[in-house]
Symmetry: C2
Amino acid sequence: MARIRTAKDVSRKEVILKAAAALFHAKGYKAASMRDLAEMVGVEAASLYNHIRSKTELLHDICFNVANVFWEHLNKVELSDARPIEKLETLLRFHIKQMIENFQEVYISDREWRYLIDPYLSNYQNQRRTYRKRFAAIIEQGIENGEINKIDASTAVLIVLHAVSGIESWHRSKIKVSGEELEENMITILIDGLKK
Amino acid sequence: MARIRTAKDVSRKEVILKAAAALFHAKGYKAASMRDLAEMVGVEAASLYNHIRSKTELLHDICFNVANVFWEHLNKVELSDARPIEKLETLLRFHIKQMIENFQEVYISDREWRYLIDPYLSNYQNQRRTYRKRFAAIIEQGIENGEINKIDASTAVLIVLHAVSGIESWHRSKIKVSGEELEENMITILIDGLKK
């Protein structure tokens, strides 16, 4: 039986998670099977179960890994002594970069989390909601100190995060803009739009 | 057998199309059946076929009806003698209003068109592509005459249209912002972001 090949610094589980993200993105979580995954990794389905217990576990790990990366980044940004508009720019650039460099995982965590099972599902929804509230709070601080246009902060979060998730079609399209240019264009539109 | 009830100024076909849009939105086009639709409309499945030939025909009509509404609006905007930045605002407000008032149809036309069958599929894709090119051309005119920030116009189209499609989560969320406020917030962020 073939063994799961890995580079020295990558665990077998990480190889499987990476493949699962690609598979769930291509086929959708529901339609994807462990057999498909085994084929992608190049092993028998049975040997996957030495590393993971179920398809749900894969979804769980992908979603929470992504959520935790964003969560920790937000912690750092909140603690920094930058101005609110600068914090916002830092957050947005991070979202954009993640969406470009870590696309499949971020996509799954944004679209397929509905298939998580409780209690993880509720935990995940809570974490998402809280993240957005903290994001909105930074916008509100910017409105209060006069740096940011007077708008409804939760709506602004909705607008900018959806604009960022539009990078999905950038991945699919043949538009020849580079990742850096995409990032600068997004920052120009979104941050200038928020600035007073 | 029950007849399809309609208000005097609405055709039976329109009643069926409205129900189909709601059904495809709730269940997804693929999973929805003609039996589901008959149940929603309150008639036997057989009597639906007096008005339409197939599930594909419903998808076709929903997608092209929406596409044509946007297309005709764009024709008018292009012919107006407003400045490019004003044309852009008019276009965006129209997208936002359609997404608020005509949500299910616009959602289907934006997400489920992949299930159209050729030659309609290719026609639809062409129309979508051309629409975006004409939209981008208006941004380019604004960049040339110095009203709009120097950015890649096709990327800008991608960003703003995705921000608008984020209204999907506004429909789902319990955020208590009104449609009007949502529209004004979006225009503030997106148009101010584009303006030089």
